[in-house]
């Protein structure tokens, strides 16, 4: 079947989609958006969390056909100037991370002292920046799903309590961090947003 939907603000088409494919599979293997992760494919770990018409869902449990004509936001769409993944040559066809791209996390000489790596000047969303600054990323496999879930939390609650954060992120498993730095990151993002609002007198 042909699938037409909106991903990260861009109209997308995927052809020859088998009816049994999940939204996660189509994003990862057909649209070249492997940021959403395939950690359990059982709807238990939250690593594949995306927003479907604004609602956080496990994309591994959403049949691709259900996304027809709907709006999807993935981790790739979180940043204002996210890299345009679905560039020419990828839309509609199979496209993933090429081997050359796989090597791109090598830090570059222009990275600055922190060693932060990026191939293009990126503006990170506040929650993305907070995850880096707070040490909330270790292996990083849970990170995309957590970011989408945390972003959604902060959208509807700009000063969440710890209990609120824990409740909102309870569907996202992390095996590396013990969650302490993830809590730190969400608190940090909320606090920075609060400081900004206070600063502008808004």
């Amino acid at each position: 079947m042909r699938l037409t939907f909106n991903v990260n603000g861009r109209q997308q088409e995927a052809d020859d989609v088998w009816e049994g494919e999940s939204l996660l599979y189509v994003l990862r293997e057909r649209l070249g958006l492997p940021g959403s992760k395939n950690a359990c494919e059982q709807g238990e770990c939250g690593s594949c969390t995306v927003r479907l018409d604004g609602v956080p869902v496990c994309s591994c449990l959403v049949a691709a056909g259900q996304a027809q004509d709907r709006d999807i936001v993935t981790v790739e769409g979180l940043a204002d100037q996210a890299k345009k993944r679905a560039a020419a040559g990828c839309a509609g066809g199979a496209c993933g991370t090429t081997l050359d791209e796989a090597k791109q996390w090598e830090s570059k000489p222009a990275d600055g002292q922190s060693g932060e790596a990026s191939t293009s000047p990126l503006t990170l969303s506040p929650i993305q920046q907070a995850f880096i600054d707070a040490g909330a990323v270790q292996c990083g496999f849970c990170t995309p799903g957590l970011l989408v879930a945390a972003d959604e939390l902060l959208e509807r609650n700009d000063s969440p309590s710890d209990a609120d954060i824990r409740e909102a992120l309870s569907g996202n498993l992390c095996r590396c961090t013990g969650y302490e730095k993830i809590l730190d990151a969400v608190r940090l993002a909320a606090a920075r947003a609060g400081a900004e609002t206070a600063g502008t007198g808004a």
């Binding site: 088998w18 049994g20 070249g32 492997p34 940021g35 992760k37 395939n38 950690a39 359990c40 494919e41 059982q42 238990e44 770990c45 790739e76 199979a94 496209c95 993933g96 991370t97 090429t98 081997l99 791209e101 796989a102 090597k103 791109q104 996390w105 090598e106 830090s107 000489p109 222009a110 002292q113 922190s114 060693g115 932060e116 790596a117 990170l124 993305q128 920046q129 995850f131 880096i132 040490g135 990323v137 292996c139 990083g140 496999f141 849970c142 990170t143 209990a163 824990r166 409740e167 992120l169 569907g171 498993l173 992390c174 095996r175 590396c176 961090t177 013990g178 969650y179 302490e180 730095k181």
Partner: protein, 793 residues
């Protein structure tokens, strides 16, 4: 909690910004938060096929026949392989014993053993084709525990063993046995005023790394193969892969892809050889990605264990002796079992002074899932048992459990049961003091907070099962000891290549190692070390591959010590070379070039007094310094096979925990309120990452205490291979984890650092169980503790 700094005599290098001791940020952080970081499961190649593995539904069976014709006839299927298709006579692999078939050879020995492989143009096509492979099995009797393994009529699971322990094991179904005898436990027992004994059991824990086994094999034009994979040790994989493929190692080019956690579960091979076989057979790139169900069958687990312990003590609280016997279930194949036996036995006494001991540890071959490396590696099981014993002894003596432990705590100079003198700081009593001194969380928040009480903080949480009625608080303590680095005489080394050159008018260091970055932050630390040693700002971390010498395994808490040590060592050689060039070019301009101790700091050559002599850019003009060196820790010795004596371990690592739990005694639900940790790290190269390791390790210990177990039935079948049924801690299950970091330098180690990754996983489990015992008064000799163990229903 602040980081406690202690003065040391260890050289700390230059004061360059972004160097060691700072919490610099991960070089891969940005890519990981944007979704661009390429994990092994994200790789894609034009014309790529998908591989799938058919696995045995039986724990022990003879394969009478395999018919692949119908599977091969499916549209989109490119290859189906069985044992008969293997290209060479090397059809087995293994970490220590070469006993694991690449594909089952006429017999399967555990539920989930790989039997056949399929390559197809869509993962679902491959899965469906695999279902059409007809395997005719004849089930065989199952070995599932010590009694059935050693029974007179027990099936011998690996007849004709030729491994290096085959000659000395008491039974062919015993993988390895290690006794340790020191002093005279029988005699010492006569001096005891109290004796306590116990039988303890530890369930089978899974690493549950989030990124499932995956990789991409690309056939090369030279007949070789390029393999992109998530692993813990590239060169160990290579050594096992190449012979099976019939290729020289240089034709199997391995590159580390993004690794979604490891915790020991990637020490053994999983899909590596399978993907290469399919790629070489079809001439096309082949990707294999396990789903979670398959991942539970695709890697080894933590050994389940039964442990018998006896301790005695005098009435003034000194331990007289210890006897123990530890039986580890190794499952169908050896994996890392021999080394796990070495650890379990040599660390079975815990961080205590006990002169008279009788210790025996064995690992069994059974038809259960193979077990091997997981964070803590044999020391976790022992720690649960000896710490449970410490609580029992203290109670019997009427002593405070922390004071009792402190009274018997080891320190620098203590002799281990192996005869090894502990020759660096061992602040066991101090760690207990620190963890006990932390403020306690407020009690009965549901009463104090009134209407503001948050049900989410209670046992049962959002299920709203209690508003405080039937909830009892308990507090428990534990402390543990873990070795760091590979032990027992293993030639443990790492290799680092460092280049220094001027790029765009700036000095840039490139660090190239084969270290597997699995999330721990080794890449962060390597850049910090290069900055400290070479005085540069810009450091490029080259992707890890087999084009550079081995870095050893990302396990045994060893990589900051070993590959960090290798990077430091190579940087020192690069620095010498730079200074040599500087002396040649500029030596005549200033006498200090000849007379002073020189450093590279903030882009300059400076004297140890801080006087700048030249810019690095000028020294390096027209030059590239490029050096690759191996680096070793001090040698260790094998344990004597009769007495267990020997200088077996490189370094020891210590952590202590205090657990505060609240238990709904009516429903058996446990809420861990706080899990505080104090750990000696020697030197925190990156304090933020150190705390992340401690908190992550602590949480895995919490999982073993109250949640995590792979249930294996009496007929050796795995019952819960999913995250629906195998539960790891969520953010709701995990408490606040305050951390107190102590830094007492080990003079044998680079910068005085201590390997830290595993120690916090040890004491976390017994601390939580001790707290549940304190709340309930129950004995609780088995982990994980489940609600029915508390309610007795």
């Amino acid at each position: 909690m602040g980081v406690t700094r202690t003065p040391t005599n260890i050289t700390q290098g230059s004061q360059t910004k972004g160097g060691i001791g700072e919490s610099t940020l991960r070089p891969d952080g940005t890519l990981k938060v944007t979704g661009e970081f390429a994990y092994s499961s994200d790789l894609w190649h034009e014309d790529m096929l998908w591989g799938f593995t058919l696995r045995s539904p039986h724990p022990h069976a003879r394969i009478k026949s395999i018919d692949t014709s119908e599977a091969l006839a499916q549209a989109g299927v490119y290859a189906v392989l069985t044992h008969d298709d293997l290209p060479t006579e090397h059809t087995k692999y293994g970490l220590e014993y070469t006993d694991t078939p690449v594909l089952a050879d006429g017999v399967v020995r555990h539920h989930g053993e790989p039997v056949a492989l399929v390559a197809a143009d869509h993962p679902e096509t491959a899965r469906r084709a695999a279902a059409k492979i007809k395997v005719d099995y004849e089930p065989l009797p199952v070995v599932h525990d010590e009694a059935s393994a050693l029974a007179d009529d027990a099936p011998i699971l690996h007849p004709g063993r030729d491994d290096h322990h085959a000659g000395q094991v008491p039974h062919p179904n015993i993988v390895h046995r290690q006794p340790i005898i020191r002093g005279n436990a029988e005699e010492a027992a006569q001096r005891a005023d109290v004796i306590v004994s116990g039988e303890y059991e530890v369930g089978m824990q899974d690493q549950a790394f989030l990124g499932p086994e995956s990789g991409l094999a690309v056939p090369g034009e030279d007949g070789g193969v390029d393999l992109y994979v998530a692993t813990q040790w590239l060169h160990s994989d290579l050594r096992q892969i190449a012979p099976v493929l019939g290729l020289p190692e240089e034709k199997v080019r391995m590159t580390l892809s993004g690794v979604g956690g490891a915790f020991g579960g990637r020490e053994d091979l999983s899909m590596q050889i399978h993907a290469c076989l399919l790629a070489l057979r079809t001439g096309k790139p082949v990707k294999i990605v396990y789903n979670r169900f398959e991942s539970f069958f695709g890697h080894v687990h933590r050994h389940p264990a039964k442990l018998w312990y006896e301790h005695g003590a005098t009435k003034d609280g000194k331990i007289t002796h210890m006897k123990c016997r530890i039986v580890l279930d190794g499952g169908a194949y050896a994996s890392a079992s021999p080394a796990v036996v070495g650890n379990a036995s040599s660390l079975s006494v815990g961080p205590y002074v006990i002169d008279d001991v009788e210790i025996e540890a064995v690992a069994l071959y059974t038809n259960n899932p193979p077990c091997g490396a997981m964070r803590g590696f044999g020391a976790v099981q022992a720690c649960f048992a000896y710490e449970s014993q410490m609580d029992k002894l203290a109670e019997k003596l009427g002593m405070d459990p922390v004071e009792f432990r402190q009274k018997n705590a080891m320190s620098q100079g203590t002799i281990m049961p192996t005869g090894q003198v502990v020759d660096s700081p061992a602040p066991v009593a101090e760690l207990l003091r620190r963890v006990k001194a932390m403020p306690l969380p407020p009690e009965k928040q549901w009463e104090a907070a009134g209407d503001a009480a948050d049900v989410r903080a209670l046992p049962g949480g959002l299920s709203n099962t209690t508003h405080g009625e039937g909830v009892v608080r308990g507090i428990g303590y534990a402390v543990g000891i873990k070795n760091v680095g590979f032990s027992e005489g293993f030639d443990d080394y790492s290799t680092a290549r460092v280049q220094l050159q001027v790029i765009n008018g700036e000095p840039v260091a490139t660090v190239h190692t084969a270290m597997a970055e699995v999330g721990q932050g080794g890449v962060t630390v390597h850049a910090q070390i290069a900055r400290t040693e070479l005085g540069v700002t810009q450091v490029v971390i080259h992707p890890a591959d087999t084009q550079v010498g081995s870095a050893g395994s990302t396990s045994a808490s060893r990589q900051t010590y070993m590959t960090g040590g290798a990077v430091k060592n190579t940087c020192e050689a690069v620095r010498e070379k730079v200074l040599e060039i500087g002396r040649r070019k500029f030596g005549t301009y200033h006498p200090a070039w000849a007379t002073a101790e020189l450093l590279l700091e903030s882009g300059k050559v400076v004297t140890d007094g801080g006087e700048p002599l030249a810019d690095l850019v000028d020294v390096l003009e027209g030059e590239t310094v490029d050096i690759e060196l191996e680096w070793r820790h001090r040698p260790t010795e094998a344990f004597d096979l009769v007495t267990g004596q020997g200088f077996g371990h490189v370094q020891y690592s210590f952590a202590a925990h205090r657990a505060v739990v609240e238990v709904d005694t009516e429903l058996g639900l446990v809420k861990v309120i706080e899990l505080a940790c104090a750990q000696d790290v020697g030197k925190a190269l990156n304090p933020l990452s150190v705390k992340g390791q401690i908190q992550g390790g602590t949480t895995q210990g919490l999982g073993l205490a109250v949640m995590e177990e792979i249930i294996v039935s009496k007929d050796s079948k795995v019952r819960n291979p999913s995250f629906t049924d195998y539960l790891i801690p969520t953010i709701l299950d995990t408490p606040t984890i305050p951390v107190d970091v102590l830094e007492l330098a080990d003079e044998h180690a680079p910068y005085g650092l201590r390997g830290i990754g595993e120690a916090p996983t040890l004491s976390s489990t017994p601390a939580v169980v001790s707290a549940i015992r304190a709340a309930t008064g129950l004995a609780l000799n088995r982990v994980p503790v489940r609600p029915e163990h508390i309610t007795g229903t």
